[in-house]
Symmetry: C2
Subunit: 556 residues, 2 copies
């Protein structure tokens, strides 16, 4: 990959993770508009755009903002190559003037300012996640890629956070979605953002390498079916855990445990003939990873074959001082099967005196989603770790977030976008955004004000108004006031800007944010909407502009 | 981007489009299994895997296969770098032997054979799309990336094809999904595969450059709101289309047309005061693209402002010999608004004697999907082109396709994967697949046979059996027999292999395939399932293996 880098405050910033993220990753109309702006001599007019969404996803009342780091990396490295310029020239309809190509060659984001809410923050409809200010033609070019980088990132982070909330803090959550994700970096992005949203690990090796996310994985059904019987295992010796001795025939040791278990009355005689290809696969896997033996037990029959085969191998490993990790279930009734498996593990711990055997880790991974996690929790189960794929990474319940990017000011003139649908009216003006906290430590309301209004003060009463509904308003006396925007890209101004935090820190921030939410805002069933408001002054200005712009209808 | 290439039959093959597609884009368990296979001396055992899906997406009865080219490019370039090898070493649980690292350093796909159905073919459940044969450890490493590359590609191609079927052949379809897609290459992939599925163009400039897909786009609402009034337009002159004269004040010319239209009785006096910022934006856009004037007319009020402003600019352009392209609607009742706009265009053509004005192109682009296209068609409308985004590219109606990758043979031993759910039982054996055609030219049934069975012959009666249901069977006398698998990667064997066709050819193949389908298989409502069968010999063998492998239950 070509190193793409730009100089900012003496520091070189890497380009986006995916080298396909270039200034061409935008809609053609951004370039046709750039040409029209340039032709009109308007391209350098200073414009302010807000990026925000109108509705929380998944029927919930919160969203987690993510994707900021990739946006800043795009912006820091925004520069068209000569080849890209000539491609744009060929792609514009009709012929464009040579001077425009010179303009394209020169543009970068040194004159763009980016204010944003920090990545991993819980956010709400209408409050801008990013505010981009700069020459109108350049900021428009950024519209599409920035929306692309924020929309899926925020959606899948929110999805992960929702899975974490329903699974509970005590469970381990693994993202296993690579094979079903929407393309290669749909998968890599999902791995990254699910980690931010509270997952513990991924199966995706590329994501592990790119981001340092912990990796998990053992073996598949195909591994099990690729064996015929333990007879084919030629190298059968295994050193003990402390290297003090060697078991010359581990296969025979496993067989002897299988026989012993068959006669264990407390297991109720469920152990008959187990599947031999499965047994061979488990033994081979244990010989390769004696310290990390975790077996997929549902290729044939979980209770009558998979679990007994696992237990026999685990007991043999235990003889040599190794401790098996556990089992994975990938089909069937996970509540029932996990409980039955747990009973067997407990019985073995008790009857055969193997300490800790009852605590074998049970992982489950069969088309899980929020609903099945919730149903499992209600039924009761013995699963310790969940591996979640398709529904998580493709955001199956709602495959897109609808962030938009709206012009709110140009040449210091506030602009409003009207719509017959009130929820689609944009909130004009370059704004500041605050989160106001109450005495219990929970946040009460977000409030947007004009850029030059005074900051809400702790202990002072402030009127918070619904931006569009006249009757909805409330006085708030905040115990704490948090300004939501930070400057992430000052361009050439030399101002101090926020550093991009490490992935782990974004994840910690997200987890902490969710812990601090009032529980009724984030619950699954009938969550309470969080309040988003504007200052009285901004309210009045919105409605002044609205009346000014809206045509007076005529009924016929 | 680093050039990744490998030599095959004297030809260097490029790597996958996305440089993030490397051998590490796989599940960790593929590497843990590789180590376990290697430890057991089993890694070079020859295995055959089938890639197939179990259920058509979107409630339909067909799927379009796509993603093959990317799979072959991955396979052709499959080689671990030293840095990747050491990352795998660090990632495996416990310590692994040095010899395994040497093995990893050496693996490539020179000993892998890939047979596949050609890209763009209409396909059905259970019939393998790809058959990979090679050393078990290597082919397993390919499982995850190949599934990733096929799943979304086939899903979104199918989605595009469904949109094309419901829109009808006479409409133009544009893919406008970049901003809402699942990440950067979710977008680029969608652009590519929607084109294969029958779309005509994309807004995504990067996809246009990568694949040569036609590009479309004009301007946004923000462009409209960025203007205040025509007074701010300083450069007002416009040369005539044939360069014979210059209009010194195009703005005044437009204004004069607006006035004329206000007095046009047949327009029913709907033209009053139009929005001046919109008018300024349209004039500026027309000055930049006099040959390609297409205006977004719904920023304020389509019928009372957008359309009249458009018409005035289009008429002024017409005075100078230019022909405007048309309008875009991005909100509201598209059936009503497009019909009203069309009426106005016709009235102007007739009343003002402007030939062709009635044929202005009307593009619509407001959260469209299969259902809205269908509803519009039933209502009647005047839209010529549809721009489709979110629902198309994220496959909102069903965000994932469930292709699986199953071991069907190892060391010449057929393998079957059982499941309590019959639809999940795999079809064992290395197989051949045929499509049998009837006398009307439609395909009747797909049939799978063992590798060494004779090929079905034209005019000879053949028994086609449902793979799992004893009573479902039918005799077929094919008028044409098509072998579905072609060899796309013979590795070192030096055999001739299929060339990867150009994107345009894949698209043509897909369109032709859909034209050849019996209409009831591809209709939206209650489509007829297409029949997929096995030969009598393969049927008997499947059920022999099944009985052999399945444990006999015991009711308690």
């Amino acid at each position: 990959m070509e190193a793409k880098a730009s100089q900012n405050a003496g520091r070189v910033m890497d380009g986006p993770i995916n080298p396909m993220v270039t200034p061409l990753l935008t809609d053609l109309y951004q370039f046709t508009m750039a040409y029209a702006y340039w032709k009109a001599g308007k391209h350098n007019e200073r414009a302010v755009f807000d990026l925000y969404f109108r509705k929380n996803p998944f029927g919930g009342e919160f969203t987690v903002f993510a994707g900021l780091e990739e946006c800043i990396k795009l912006i820091a490295n925004f520069k068209l190559t000569e080849e890209e310029v000539s491609f744009i020239y060929k792609s514009l309809p009709g012929s464009c003037e040579e001077g425009f190509l010179n303009y394209l060659r020169e543009i970068d984001c040194s004159d763009v300012e980016v204010y944003a809410i920090s990545e991993g923050t819980v956010v709400f409809p209408k409050v801008p996640l990013l505010r981009l200010e700069g020459p109108v033609a350049v900021v428009q070019l950024l519209e599409t890629p920035v929306l692309n980088l924020v929309n899926f990132a925020s959606l899948v982070t929110t999805n992960a956070a929702r899975h974490r909330l329903v699974a509970g803090q005590s469970k381990m959550l693994f993202e296993f979605g690579l094979r079903r994700a929407q393309g290669p970096d749909g998968a890599i992005g999902a791995s990254k953002y699910c980690y931010i949203g509270g997952f513990d690990a991924t199966s995706n090796v590329a994501a592990g390498r790119l981001f340092g996310i912990p990796l998990r994985g053992t073996h598949s059904h195909a591994f099990v079916s690729s064996f015929m019987s333990p007879d084919e295992i030629l190298e059968r010796s295994l050193c003990s855990s402390d290297d003090s001795s060697t078991c010359e025939d581990f296969v025979t040791l496993v067989h002897s445990w299988l026989s012993k278990m068959q006669w264990l009355k407390s297991l109720g005689g469920i152990f008959g003939e187990t599947n031999q290809s499965e047994l061979a696969a488990f033994i081979s896997y244990a010989l390769a990873f004696p310290n990390n033996f975790l077996a997929l037990v549902d290729t044939y029959d979980v209770i009558r074959s998979g679990v007994p085969n696992f237990c026999a191998v685990a007991l043999a490993l235990s003889d040599l001082g190794y401790r098996a990790v556990g089992i994975r279930l990938d089909s069937g009734d996970l509540a029932y099967l996990s409980s039955e498996a747990r009973k067997i593990f407990h019985t073995i711990e008790k009857e055969l005196g193997v300490p800790g055997f009852g605590k074998m880790i049970i992982t489950a991974s069969n088309d899980l989603n929020e609903e099945t996690l919730d149903a499992l929790r209600k039924q009761g189960h013995e699963v310790d770790c969940f591996g979640i794929g398709t529904y998580l990474v493709t955001c199956y319940a709602q495959a897109a977030l609808g962030c938009v990017f709206k012009l709110v000011e140009i040449n210091n003139q506030p602009r409003i976008k009207l719509s017959e649908d009130v929820s689609k009216v944009s909130i004009p003006c370059k704004k500041r955004c605050y989160r106001l906290y109450g005495k219990e430590g929970y946040s009460l309301v977000d409030i947007m004000t004009g850029e030059n209004e005074p900051c809400p003060k702790v202990g002072e009463r402030i009127l918070c108004r619904h931006p569009f509904s006249e009757s909805k308003r409330a006085y708030v006396v905040p115990k704490r006031v948090e300004e939501l925007f930070k400057c992430y890209w000052p361009g050439k101004s030399g101002k101090l800007r926020e550093e991009l935090p490490a992935l782990k820190d974004i994840r910690d921030h997200c987890i902490k944010q969710l812990e601090q939410m009032r529980p009724d805002h984030i619950r699954r069933l009938n969550p309470t909407p969080y309040k988003v408001s504007v200052s009285a002054k901004l309210y009045d200005f919105i409605h002044f502009l609205w009346l000014n712009e809206a045509p007076v209808g005529e009924l016929q």
